[in-house]
């Protein structure tokens, strides 16, 4: 009996990155995704072509795995008659990821994806905040516990240190309120009714949640949207350039960055002169 010889079946998958809605092949960070364990979610769609011995592998819902935990790759539909389908890849791992077909018999069918930057799918609202400057205030000097004499409205006004937490004194030193819970406010929050209870201290700088904030670099952000100290590039419609997540606050929610512009009225006027708030900013995630 003559044995029948079979040529081994060769299954292959070819991958190519699809352009996103931003017109390039960077991943997106989906609008509805949130930061988990300090990482954003990256999503990339890939075109695949599956073949068996050079012929299209049609109507197959192929399974895939990814080299990192908490990463997924799945076909959005079975392959069509040309063996084509869209593979959706999602990971929280910035760096090198590899996608493999889960079934055996595929040769040379792994695909490496290097992730460094990504587009936030949702547009951002960009606002600005400053730190108060004693030189912008007008009331007479008063004695204050911990810091000596400073302008009354700078320390105790509704737009002064007791509301914002920190301000720059005329002597060039930053002043912070130490016991805000001891203060009772007057009607309309024009100031406090018990200024004698306030205790201030000198600090080395303006501090955000994660350390010192720097003008035109630091932003306050929602930790569900950006991990601490990670960087972004605000590219349009008015380019602000690179920013870093140094501060947070319960008042900053969702796709909203609050840009720290520096000290005093002049910093805020410069922001407004440059165009002011951005309603719908295009933002690129840059990583840590």
């Amino acid at each position: 009996m003559i044995p029948r010889l079979h040529a081994p079946t060769e299954r292959k998958i070819q991958y190519s990155l699809k352009a996103s809605e931003f017109g390039d092949k960077l991943p997106i960070i989906p609008s509805d995704s949130k930061v988990q364990r300090g990482s954003v979610l990256f999503r990339l769609d890939l075109d695949i072509v599956a073949t068996r011995d050079g012929a299209p592998l049609a109507n197959e819902l192929l399974q895939f795995r990814v080299s990192w935990p908490q990463s997924h790759a799945r076909l959005l539909t079975p392959t069509n008659s040309a063996g084509k389908a869209t593979l959706r890849f999602e990971t929280r791992h910035a760096g090198k990821n590899t996608v493999f077909p889960l079934m055996q018999g595929f040769s040379n069918s792994a695909f490496n994806i290097e992730i460094t930057e990504a587009w936030y799918q949702a547009p951002f609202k960009i606002t600005a905040y400053n730190c108060c400057d004693e030189d912008d205030f007008t009331e007479p000097l008063v004695e204050a516990k911990g810091v000596g004499k400073h302008k009354k409205d700078f320390l105790f006004g509704g737009r002064g240190v007791i509301m914002q937490g920190t301000g720059l004194g005329s002597d060039g030193r930053y002043i912070q309120i130490t016991n805000p819970k001891s203060l009772s406010w007057k009607p309309h929050y024009a100031g406090v009714s018990n200024p004698e209870a306030a205790v201030f201290k000198y600090v080395d700088n303006v501090h955000g949640t994660y350390g010192v904030v720097e003008a035109d670099l630091s932003i306050a952000f929602d930790p569900e949207i950006l991990p601490p100290h990670h960087r972004v590039n605000i590219v349009g419609p008015r380019a602000l350039g690179e920013r870093r997540g140094d501060d947070t606050g319960g008042g900053i929610k969702g796709h909203h960055f609050d840009n720290y512009v520096g000290v005093g009225r002049s910093a805020m006027q410069a922001w407004e002169s440059a165009g002011g708030n951005i309603v719908s900013a295009k933002v690129k995630y840059l990583g840590k």
Partner: protein, 130 residues
């Protein structure tokens, strides 16, 4: 002094602005305050052309981390009277501010409050400095 049909709108000359502040969208704050005083917001909309950005006071992290970054009044907005578009104005929306603790009881202690509610009470304006 120029006074409109709404007595709460008045021209003043001492409007604080841009001290310890944060910006926000004028449309956002007007929309937020509208239910608290519909006639005044209607007057604001009908009498003024407003710039897109407003400026409010900011609650700082050192004062209350829970509310840090929250804007509260008074809010200042640059704008112009529709009847006199050549004159730049600084318009101030004054609000009554009520802070609530985590049990939703009113509190005057900003530092231990959990939420804030504002009601528009008056609109004041002055000629803006160039």
């Amino acid at each position: 002094m120029r006074t409109f049909c709404f007595p709460a709108i008045a021209m003043l000359f001492l409007v604080p602005s841009l001290l310890a502040d944060g910006t926000l969208a004028t449309s956002d704050i007007v929309q937020t305050l509208e239910p608290t005083n519909p006639p005044l917001v209607k007057a604001l909309r009908s009498e003024f052309d407003l710039d897109k950005d407003a400026v409010g006071s900011v609650i700082g992290r050192a004062v209350n981390p829970q509310l840090a970054g929250t804007r509260i009044g008074p809010y200042t907005i640059r704008g112009r009277l529709k009847s006199q578009p050549g004159l730049e104005l600084l318009i101030t929306l004054k609000t009554e501010i009520i802070f609530f603790d985590r049990h939703h009881r009113k509190t005057k202690k900003v530092a231990s409050s959990d939420s804030v509610q504002e009601t528009l009470v008056s609109i004041e304006f002055e000629a803006a400095k160039p």
